[in-house]
């Protein structure tokens, strides 16, 4: 299948999504969009907002006397709850404006950054975290852990910025 065909079928899928009952509801109801967008943004501030502090600990910047593993155990439930809220509301918002989002360059940047964030987290959990016993209490974790924390902060900053730019450029024209 050529790239053009792939792009064409994604566009068809987007059109189909927009015509589902959910898509129509999100787009046409008076308060559907603002309520979902507010939930999306509030979920973001809690999820990324708490994740940053784990990332800063990994990077060796903050909370040097807190063991990395206990900070992870205590913060992750809040981060994950925020992520679930953010992903569900984001997916619902997408059904209402799928074709416009698909054609928007900031949306593509945002998706790419989310994939990078996921890959970075996966790499951390599968490789770097396996030897956590050696540096759990260290004020300055090893290079790989510090890099994982900094990369996470950078890519989530890109996600937030691209997401905001997307909503400003998507509806014009």
């Amino acid at each position: 299948m050529s790239l053009l065909n792939v792009s064409e079928s994604i566009l068809r899928a987007c059109e189909w999504l927009e015509n589902t009952q959910l898509g129509i509801l999100v787009r046409e109801s008076l308060y559907g969009f603002p309520i979902l967008a507010a939930i999306h943004i509030l979920g973001l501030t809690v999820s990324v907002g708490t994740l940053i502090w784990f990332d800063l600990r990994l990077a060796g910047v903050s909370m040097p006397r807190c063991p990395v593993s206990s900070l992870y155990r205590r913060l992750m439930p809040w981060t994950l709850a925020g992520f679930i809220i953010m992903f569900v509301s984001g997916a619902m918002l997408f059904t209402g404006f799928a074709t416009k989002a698909y054609g928007n360059v900031y949306f593509r940047v945002k998706l790419a950054a989310i994939v990078l964030a996921g890959a970075n987290a996966l790499l951390y959990h599968l490789v770097t975290e396996r030897r956590i016993a050696d540096w759990n209490d260290a004020a300055r974790p090893p290079m790989a852990a510090r890099a994982a924390g900094l990369i996470s902060i950078v890519v989530w900053t890109i996600v937030i910025m691209a997401g905001r730019m997307m909503s400003y450029t998507m509806f014009s024209g």
Partner: protein
């Protein structure tokens, strides 16, 4: 007051921002980054102050970083917020969601400097201060969303 807002709105800075969707979007992105830092710092520090997370660590091991982070987030959000406010000063000032947001913001900032910062390092009153601080900032965030999305 009305003429002051009209003057703000007519400044070259305000008209430049108001005339550019990209610039407004960029400032709005910075505004949200500041809010994320602020809310994240408020959640982490207040959860410790409330005795919900990391209770096996003393307050001093947990709260200083996030409480400083709240200040950085505040500075970023207020600076970008003023720039976003300038091009539509008159309309925003009349919006009731915006008025509620400013009222809560004033209370939250005053509470942060007068009570929260100090209480985040002491055992006594840490719970009460943590709870009030978290509620105030949640209120600012919700009112901010209502203002931008329902105007």
């Amino acid at each position: 007051m009305g003429s002051l807002l009209a003057w703000v709105q007519a400044t070259p800075l305000a008209t430049t921002i108001g005339g550019s969707t990209l610039l407004t979007g960029f400032l709005s992105a910075i505004h949200l980054l500041g809010l994320t830092l602020l809310v994240g710092g408020a959640v982490v520090s207040s959860l410790r102050m409330l005795g919900i997370i990391l209770t096996d660590r003393p307050l001093d091991d947990v709260t200083p970083g996030p409480v400083r982070g709240m200040f950085v987030g505040m500075a970023i959000s207020v600076a970008s917020g003023l720039l976003l406010f300038a091009p539509r000063a008159s309309a925003a000032a009349e919006n009731s969601f915006f008025q509620v947001k400013m009222l809560l913001l004033g209370a939250a900032i005053a509470f942060y400097f007068a009570v929260y910062r100090g209480a985040s390092r002491r055992i006594d009153h840490a719970r009460l201060a943590g709870g009030i601080g978290l509620l105030l900032w949640a209120g600012v965030a919700v009112a901010g969303c209502a203002f931008i999305l329902l105007e």
